[in-house]
């Protein structure tokens, strides 16, 4: 074996851990949450106390939308304020670049979180790809229960 070949082999062995990690790149999914006023008017949506978004498919996560602005922001989200019918937009970063990525919204009119308090729902599905940023709108409708004030 020549010296150059030996050096190349050593360098390959040294770089193996880095090569094993592989290359990752971020992909961003911007989700705009908007309320369907026909199924969830303001007099009902105003009872929402907590909003969660479950991420499933190519990645898995559970996001609790902030009640007084998210990390690094001062935007109020849930409960609604002046942001009706557009709750706002959040961004989700993932390395996933294939498969389906589903965001499922669930709004609750009381705590602790129980199925009986679940009164707003909706979902949107992205096709994960090498595209850096994708944006879609998640429409929120009323159900499966009626939003009411008795749970507060």
């Amino acid at each position: 074996m020549t010296r150059a070949a030996r050096l190349f082999g050593l360098a390959t062995v040294a770089m193996a851990p880095l090569l094993a990690v592989g290359c990752n790149s971020y992909h961003y999914y911007d989700v705009k949450i908007q309320v369907d006023q026909s199924s969830l008017p303001l007099d009902k949506a105003g009872y929402l106390q907590l909003c969660q978004v479950k991420v499933s498919g190519a990645d898995n996560d559970l996001i609790t939308l902030p009640t007084s602005g998210g990390p690094g922001t001062t935007v109020a989200a849930c409960p609604f304020g002046s942001n009706f019918p557009v709750l706002g937009t959040f961004e989700y970063a993932t390395f996933a670049d294939s498969g389906k990525l589903t965001f499922t919204f669930a709004g609750y009119d009381g705590q602790p979180l129980m199925d009986s308090y679940h009164c707003a729902s909706g979902s949107v599905e992205f096709t994960a790809s090498t595209t850096i940023t994708q944006m879609m709108t998640l429409m929120v409708t009323g159900g499966p229960n009626d939003c009411m004030s008795t749970h507060q």
């Binding site: 949450i33 990645d59 902030p66 993932t94 390395f95």
Partner: protein, 166 residues
């Protein structure tokens, strides 16, 4: 044991004693050794007497040679006691080459850590190691996606990989 009919020593149970190859009878071979062995032993004894005798010519001649240094001791004086100084004083004056040689010798005797080459190599190794560690960490971070992009202030929030709280 009585001799057998052939005049040699008999073998076991009267069989003729022969060599392993079966050529010469052992009795004839023993007599041949006896004939040659006696003169050979006599010759060895004679040589031994010649070598052992002090006045023998076979001994090395007596070493009567005196050491040469004793003979030349008065002829050659040690260099330190050499009083034969050159008349030309410039020959005794130190030359630039002498100073250079002395300086070189002094430099060779200096400790390794007092040489600039040592610190140059050590510094190179340290800088190289730091650069390799920093470069490796940066490369590793880049291969893992690097830094996530800053969150838009107008968003409700940013979540997922690389985001705070994940």
């Amino acid at each position: 044991m009585p001799p057998d009919q052939t005049g040699t020593l008999g073998g076991f149970f009267g069989a003729p004693a022969t060599t392993p190859l079966g050529k010469a009878p052992l009795g004839r071979r023993a007599s041949t050794v006896r004939r040659v062995g006696a003169p050979f032993a006599l010759l060895c004894a004679l040589l031994g007497v010649l070598v052992a005798t002090p006045w023998s010519s076979a001994r090395a001649a007596q070493d009567t040679e005196e050491p040469q240094s004793a003979k030349t001791e008065t002829d050659v004086a040690p260099q330190a006691e050499d009083t034969d100084r050159p008349h030309d004083k410039s020959l005794l004056a130190p030359k630039p080459a002498d100073a250079a040689v002395a300086q070189k010798a002094q430099a060779d005797d200096a400790a390794f850590y007092s040489k600039w080459q040592f610190w140059a190599i050590a510094g190179g190794i340290v800088v190289g190691a730091v650069a390799a560690i920093w470069g490796g960490a940066t490369l590793y971070h880049s291969l893992n996606g690097g830094d996530v992009r800053p969150c838009n202030k107008a968003f409700l929030g940013c979540y997922g990989q690389g985001e705070p709280g994940q």
